[in-house]
Amino acid sequence: MKTRSGTLHGVSVALLGFLYLPIVVVIVYSFNATRHGVAWSGFTLEWYRALLGNDLVLAAVRNTLWLAGASTLISTVLGTLLGCGLDRFRPAGRRWCGRLLQLPMVMPDIVMAVALVILFSLVRRWTGWFQLGMGTMVLAHVTLEIPFVAIVVRSRLAGFDSSLAEAAQDLGASRFQVFWWITFPLILPGILVGALLAFTLSLDDFVLSFFTTGPGASTLPIFIYSSVKRGITPEVNALSAIVIAFSIVAIVILTLLQRRWLR
């Protein structure tokens, strides 16, 4: 029994190491002094300094944050409303909505991306709307994020005592007052977790952006992809290391929030 749990320890630690291999290698090589090849030749912060002077990178950072912010705002509002309403739908409606929310979550993103490309191009031909760029990317990202927000908010609501809302209603509160003073404060943690998830999803996305982007609307993942296609440089590693650092911070915050509020 002892040796069996020892093996399990060993295997599991090795698997965790395997998971972190790519993350570690990117961070390590972002500090490597040599420009070409993977031989280690000393520590430098040169590549991080170079990023600050790169206008393309700075524009991509701006676009990425703008895209994530705008899409998070829209998807959080829409997803929260749906998450609140979903359990009051008639059973058939609830079942169909459940499927509608599940499908975008498990579908290969490329299928969703090309379907949107077709929609955008057809509507553009008739009306001139949907010129590819930041706008179309926001539309695509919101579509991806709504299901995640709705499901998080709904699961938060599922554990909530409806007698409070009923009591308020019996005491003469209007439907809006009930929502604003009782339901909303209770689900606020769920909304914040949902919003943080939506933001992270947007930062992580490459495929949707790649297909729905237009001239001058590059995001960090698009920039990283096109750089890697030309050959990995230390600057790209430095940029990726920063992105990784941001993800780690976001996840630690998310974990702490969830521990505090959702348990």
């Binding site: 698997l15 790519p22 009051r88 929310l101 975008p104 498990v106 490329i110 090309v114 992580d204 490459f206």
Partner: protein, 302 residues
């Protein structure tokens, strides 16, 4: 009394109307930007390619026949091979992730207190770290001077100067690394709730380790297994970035084929047809998963 019931019913109907009203914008959004585009792709897949990404009549089944292997000069196995390769790679990735994910999920679930949270967070971090970055990093790791290649050379698995990428090996390894968290997290949720007394009872009654696993553990973690398999197999089958960066020319998958048609080849109807085939695989996979016992693929891990 009758009056009272009517008001209760009215209140219920009012609540239902209100719920539909607040849910409507999101449902409308998903209809306009998800369902309708999929419908358009379905229609496009039955039409003919015009110049510069155009979609024109006449209606034809030619795109699907092409995927099934009909070429200009008789049977051409290129596309059936890509379809088969995608399904096989999805399957291999799922099996590898299961083999690695089960021990990891059990290990984390048995860690004491604080360490459990840390262990879980350590799996969640790669889960939410940019897939593109974790993928291109394997180019470094598997290059001739890369760390992994170095170890393989030391063991004697590869010749000096050789690289481990591009190729199917690199794609599979990276798929395992990228999708393992998607398997571990739902499995962990199930394993966490596992009733250990059933496992002990089975062992006390003389079941061997395989039978304990098969009859006392698997039925209890069925929903986690279904969710994990769904979350790995479906995205893996449509992957585009991993084979694109690590596969080289000879390992195209469905995702790459779609990208090619919407990119350089400008054959949107054919691309749509491949997307529809991918969608069919997804729906089939979801159906199988629901038979396996997962009601909400992936929903439970949020």
């Amino acid at each position: 009394m009758a009056d009272c019931r009517t008001t209760a019913e009215q209140a219920e109907a009012g609540r239902h109307r209100c719920a539909v009203a607040i849910g409507a914008p999101a449902v409308l959004w998903l209809t306009v930007f998800f369902l309708i585009p999929l419908g358009m792709a379905a229609v496009a897949s039955l039409l003919t390619a015009g110049g510069y990404g155009g979609i024109e009549p006449p209606v034809t089944a030619a795109n699907y026949l092409r995927i099934a292997g009909q070429g200009t000069f008789g049977f051409a196995p290129v596309y059936p091979l890509i379809l088969g390769r995608s399904l096989l790679l999805g399957l291999v990735t799922t099996v590898l992730c299961l083999a690695a994910g089960l021990p990891l999920a059990f290990w984390i679930a048995r860690l004491p207190g604080m360490f459990k949270t840390i262990g879980l967070t350590l799996v969640v971090i790669p889960f939410w770290t940019n897939l593109l970055i974790r993928t291109y990093a394997w180019q470094i790791l598997l290059s001739p001077e890369g760390w992994v290649t170095g170890v393989a050379r030391w063991i004697g698995l590869v010749d000096p100067g050789a690289a481990l990428y591009p190729g199917m090996f690199a794609v599979s390894l990276c798929m395992l690394c990228d999708f393992l968290p998607f398997m571990v997290l739902p499995l962990y949720v199930s394993v966490e709730k596992l009733d250990a007394s059933l496992v002990e009872a089975a062992a006390d009654l003389g079941a061997n380790r395989w039978n304990v696993f098969r009859h006392a553990i698997v039925p209890q973690i069925r929903s986690g297994l279904a969710a994990g398999v769904t979350l790995v197999f479906l995205p893996a089958t449509g992957q585009f970035v991993i084979p694109d960066l690590l596969g080289g020319g000879k390992t195209a998958l469905l995702g790459n084929l779609i990208q090619q048609q919407f990119g350089p080849s400008m054959d949107w109807p054919f691309g749509s047809a491949i997307a529809m085939v991918t969608l069919a695989v997804v729906l089939l996979g979801l159906w199988v998963a629901s038979l396996m016992g997962g009601k909400q693929g992936g929903a439970e891990l949020l």
